[in-house]
């Protein structure tokens, strides 16, 4: 099961971010940071992804979209909230249409605060998410074995 750690595939969704964090997520793919070194691929397809990266807060309009993407991802999967808006709603917290952070809609495993998040912090967060992913995979395997 250790292969999950060696090939985490990502799907990135922009909730209602100002695009600051999104640019930093995409910066991780550039030659400078080159996260493909670690086998990380930006799939753009929930059915192929293991790690769900969300930037920006959740509002009434995108809550359903986020829930759908989450439900379409096959187990085991982890969710990482990227940026202060995704972790708590940030400065948009009190807005009339904002529900709050990502955890207002789906369970979040890793919080990566920052405005905007540095690419180093994103990579660090994804590495931390892989630890959670391993635990979930082990839990899934033991559930299968007992069933």
């Amino acid at each position: 099961m250790s292969f999950l750690k060696k090939s985490p595939w990502i799907i990135h969704y922009d909730g209602s971010s100002c695009n600051g964090c999104d640019i930093e997520v995409l910066a991780c793919l550039t030659p400078l940071y080159d996260i493909e070194r670690f086998g990380i691929i930006n799939t753009g397809n929930p059915k192929h992804a293991d790690v769900f990266l969300i930037t920006g807060s959740i509002n009434e309009q995108n809550a359903d979209v986020v829930r759908t993407i989450y439900n379409q991802m096959p187990d085991p999967k982890v969710v990482a909230a990227i940026g202060i808006c995704a972790t708590s709603g940030g400065i948009f917290r009190e807005c009339y249409n904002v529900k709050g952070g990502v955890d207002s809609t789906i369970p979040v495993d890793i919080y990566i605060p920052g405005c905007a998040v540095r690419p180093e912090a994103i990579i660090d967060g994804v590495v931390a998410a892989l630890g959670v992913l391993e635990k979930k995979a082990a839990a899934l395997a033991s559930m299968k074995a007992s069933a």
Partner: protein, 284 residues
Amino acid sequence: MKTALWVVAWVVLAPFIGGLLAGVDRIITARMQSRVGPPVLQPFYDVLKLFGKRGNVVNAFQNFYMICFLVFVIVTGCLFFSGGDLLLTIFALAVAGVFFVLGAFSPNSPYSNIGAERELLQMMSYEPVLIIMAVGMFMVTKSWHVDAIAGFHQLLFAYLPGVFVAFLFVLTIKLRKSPFDLSMSHHGHQELVKGATTEFSGPALAVIEIAHWYENILLMGFVYLFFACNWIAAIAAVMVTYFIEIFIDNTFARLTWRFTVKSSWIVAGVFGVVNIFCVAFLIK
């Protein structure tokens, strides 16, 4: 006995060589983009991971079709590497392709349906060249059998340079490389997401990937036939061909299906058919 050895070698070794080839491909691609790239064994990590994931299914038949795709690709390779009929190999490969298209049609997702339709158009583009290749090899060697073609004492490439150019053109389609990666790209984030494989997850996706490795090795076998009289030159030619394909992949943007069909038929006509005519007049 020798035939059996070749078939066993194909079934057992082809996925390993194909996976390594995919790993080397990813490293060379990364270096061309001034990146470091993943480890050479990355494709194996990906596939082993996918086998550990849960496979979500939309349609009860979708995974069955993809297993048929894998089985028929393996059968096609067995026909080829046992020295069987080249024409039969090409048609068996088409059957495998049809199973892939059926699998892509079955989940009723707009992305995978458009991917399946594009896959059909791609098949329409490359099939004429594959048949011209078989006909050309028959005209020179007077045999349809792969073992006789591989055992031909002269360099086939010297007789069929035009056919080889046409084959190189459609090889880009078959290897699913840009600019002809219309139905299913190696990279997500395209206008069709992942095209034909959008709805496949977990083990089914791993099966598709392994079938793709088998297919790549089989296609490299076709390249080998053109240079088969000298095995060292043939292996060098296979490597150079694959490098050219990676280079094309990294330098061209994706083209439309109209251009794909038109250009591949024009190349098949200009290089392939003209070459065949020349051979017909020169070799009595």
